[in-house]
């Protein structure tokens, strides 16, 4: 894909997310001035960006939206709820067009019509009013932003207190100005309240001295002043065509005490795959270091002192590797915002398809999680949201009849607690009736009547996660017949998370996802089955136990034992893998809740515990049912990591 387009897709979506955030803030408080400014800037910059592509309908629409916002900024015509809704539609539409540019590299045929319709509504009174609206008077922000962004990261300006700087300028003197007797530096010296300047090569770099012409100006000057824009502009009144001036805001996150340079360090976009590689390699380093341990142990026999030195060095390397791994984990932390910001639009679209109106709120979307998690959360969340729209919320008529607002409420709240995040999706719909769930599960032959009756109400709600289950009486285009709730659970479990449902019949449903915020390395236990070594995720193990083999009793075709007063089925890992069953007087058991009930796996031996980067299986391994992935052992060999939920299912 063309690099410019790629850049646009990234930045365009950032701007859409920015505009959404501002619209949500304005929805809470229509007089939120910073939010209005933020929305204006995002819209303006988006307009500039779409203008670079064949997206004329988007450009016209954003132009009208921008003009409306400019009006609101000047104080004529506040933005009422209806207008905010139209602006939301304009931004949503732009977002869809960005998707279209990614897919088909062009807008749909109906883009012009859509754009005209929204333009008429935003311009008001059914006129197409585009021409009547004043052009925004602000300077071209998009062009400004390039040099301001560069200026923020100038080392030369690193000593300037960002709290004092109010205006930034970039002065590019005419190369021949020295011949006219001008001294650009003395003009800069006259800038009021000058805080600092950077004298830079006007081109990419200073030329070699041998190539320098002493009387040709080859410099550009950037600077910061505590004076306002007009005062700075006045200082350059003799060179208006060579100067760019713009208000300077320290980055919003900047704290007064932090050094300027670090605050202004521009963000860097790095290909995700490179970060993944870095994370993998830092994880492998941690594992590779463990190869020193057995060497140190052998060395102790020959030379205890040298062995101690090696151990000390190993500890030090392990400590540094641990720090490296934590730093990499930090780098991989990304805000959930870009993932979550797309949901309201998709939820509104989903609601429109089934003729429902919704109000969607998001809280805590700036929580930071590992990139892998952010990447893989979107699909399951979208599915849950669509389910809530489709199955959770009642039609408007029914809602009003039961005393609820016609508009269905869906809320998404993200909370970070320590190393975990919880994502709570609530709706105020019809809720889930546990009795109906039990009956449906029995009717579909998913479980026996007794088993269903034995479930508590809370457990009965989780029937929805059984493969192929649905309570909807009719299938819809939107979410099908509940297909996918089992897939949602599988996706969450793949991310080492859990999903739970609570519901109040007639009042709504609450789905909670709890996930680890960092998930690069996974603690593993090595077990033996037959002559093979296999990895089991520690978080899937409830306990390990050693019991007398005679305590494992045959029960019909299967085996079971009593553990902590509970009867637990025992499966032989080697037999499951098609190997010779484990024998011996002692039964070593790995007890897990990963399956439908507590299960013990009999293994031949317990090995070491260690943290490893588990890679999802690819190629041939992906076809093996019981393998979740692979991890590298300290001796460089590859360990197969078992997929316990699948193995014991």
């Amino acid at each position: 894909m063309d690099e410019l387009l790629q850049q646009f897709l990234l930045e365009g979506r950032d701007l859409v997310a920015d505009a959404h955030a501002a619209l949500v803030a304005l929805g809470r408080d229509a007089r939120d001035r910073p939010a209005l400014d933020r929305l204006f800037r995002a819209t303006h910059t988006l307009k500039g960006s779409v203008a670079l592509f064949d997206m004329a309908p988007a450009e016209r629409l954003l132009h009208v939206a921008e003009a409306r916002l400019e009006g609101a900024r000047k104080g004529d015509g506040a933005l009422d709820e209806a207008m905010l809704d139209l602006l939301m539609q304009a931004i949503d539409q732009t977002d869809r067009w960005i998707d279209a540019m990614e897919g088909a590299a062009s807008l749909d045929a109906d883009a012009t019509g859509l754009s005209d319709r929204l333009i008429a509504l935003i311009a008001g009174d059914g006129e197409t009013g585009e021409a009547d609206l004043p052009l925004p008077v602000s300077p071209p922000v998009a062009a400004d932003q390039d040099w301001i962004a560069a200026l923020r990261s100038r080392a030369e300006l690193a000593m300037v207190d960002p709290g004092r700087a109010r205006t930034a300028f970039r002065y590019t003197p005419d190369p021949d100005c020295f011949f006219r007797g001008e001294d650009p530096l003395s003009m800069v010296e006259n800038v009021p309240q000058l805080l600092g300047i950077a004298i830079l090569p006007a081109g990419d770099a200073w030329p070699d001295l041998a190539a320098c012409e002493p009387f040709r100006c080859m410099a550009a000057i950037e600077g910061l002043s505590a004076a306002d824009e007009a005062q700075v502009r006045a200082a350059f009144r003799l060179a208006p065509d060579q100067i760019a001036v713009a208000p300077f805001n320290p980055s919003p996150a900047a704290s007064d005490s932090a050094p300027y340079a670090t605050e202004l360090a521009a963000t860097l976009r790095v290909e995700a795959v490179r970060l993944d590689r870095l994370a993998d390699q830092s994880g492998e380093l941690a594992v590779a270091i463990r190869a020193l341990q057995p060497i140190a142990a052998r060395l102790r026999v020959i030379d205890p002192l040298l062995a101690a030195e090696l151990r000390a060095a190993e500890d030090e390397i392990a400590r540094v590797a641990g720090r490296l791994q934590r730093s990499v984990a930090q780098v991989r932390l990304v805000s959930l915002e870009p993932v979550l910001r797309r949901l309201p639009r998709l939820a509104r679209e989903a609601a429109a398809m089934v003729d429902k109106a919704i109000r969607f709120t998001i809280e805590g979307e700036t929580a930071q999680v590992d990139k892998q998690l952010a990447d893989q959360l979107f699909e399951p969340l979208l599915h849950l949201v669509r389910n809530a729209v489709d199955h959770g919320l009642e039609p408007a008529g029914q809602r009003v009849a039961s005393g609820k607002p016609a508009e269905g409420r869906i809320g998404l709240a993200v909370r970070q607690d320590g190393g975990h995040i919880s994502i709570v999706l609530t709706d105020d719909g019809r809720g889930i009736d546990p009795q109906a769930m039990r009956a449906a599960a029995v009717a579909k032959g998913l479980m026996s009547g007794e088993a269903a009756a034995a479930l508590s109400d809370a457990e009965a709600l989780h029937i929805v996660f059984l493969p192929g289950f649905s309570t909807a009486e009719s299938a819809t285009m939107l979410s099908g017949r509940g297909v996918g709730m089992d897939a949602v659970r599988a996706a969450v479990e793949r991310l080492a998370g859990t999903i739970t449902i609570q519901s109040d019949v007639g009042r709504g449903t609450r789905i909670t996802l709890r996930l680890p915020a960092n998930a690069i390395t996974t603690p593993l236990l090595v077990v033996a089955a037959g002559d093979r070594q296999l990895g089991v995720r520690l978080d899937q193990i409830v306990e390990t136990a050693r019991i007398d083999a005679s305590a494992v009793q045959p029960v019909g075709q299967a085996h079971a034992c009593i553990l902590r007063d509970r009867t637990v089925p025992v499966l032989d890992l080697a037999a499951l893998l098609g190997l010779e069953p484990t024998s011996g007087a002692l039964a070593r058991l790995v007890v897990t809740d990963a399956g439908p009930c507590r299960t013990a796996l009999r293994v031949a031996a317990f090995g070491e515990r260690f943290d490893a980067v588990v890679r999802e299986s690819t190629g041939l391994l992906a076809a093996m049912p019981a393998v979740a992935g692979t991890a590298m052992m300290s001796d460089g060999s590859v360990l197969l990591v078992l997929d316990l939920p699948e193995l014991v299912a």
């Binding site: 080392a155 001294d183 530096l185 000058l194 004298i199 200073w206 030329p207 002493p214 080859m218 000057i221």
Partner: protein, 81 residues
Amino acid sequence: MSVVVEEDRIILSGAATVEDAEPLLAALLEHPHHRIDIAGLARAHLAVVQLVLAAGRPVIGRPESPFLREIAFASPMRIKV
């Protein structure tokens, strides 16, 4: 202004005008490893400053003018010799 070449440095002093750019460039080309001493510099034209920056050499001395010391040469002066 004057451009004076000493054993290990090029000394700039007084008020540097656009005319001083030419002798400075010649001195810089002739003595590629000399540092630049600006302690006695009172004023400087951009033509001179841009050559000092393009040369990328260590700049030593603290000129009396606050503008030169803290603004124009703030960055090259931080390069330690």
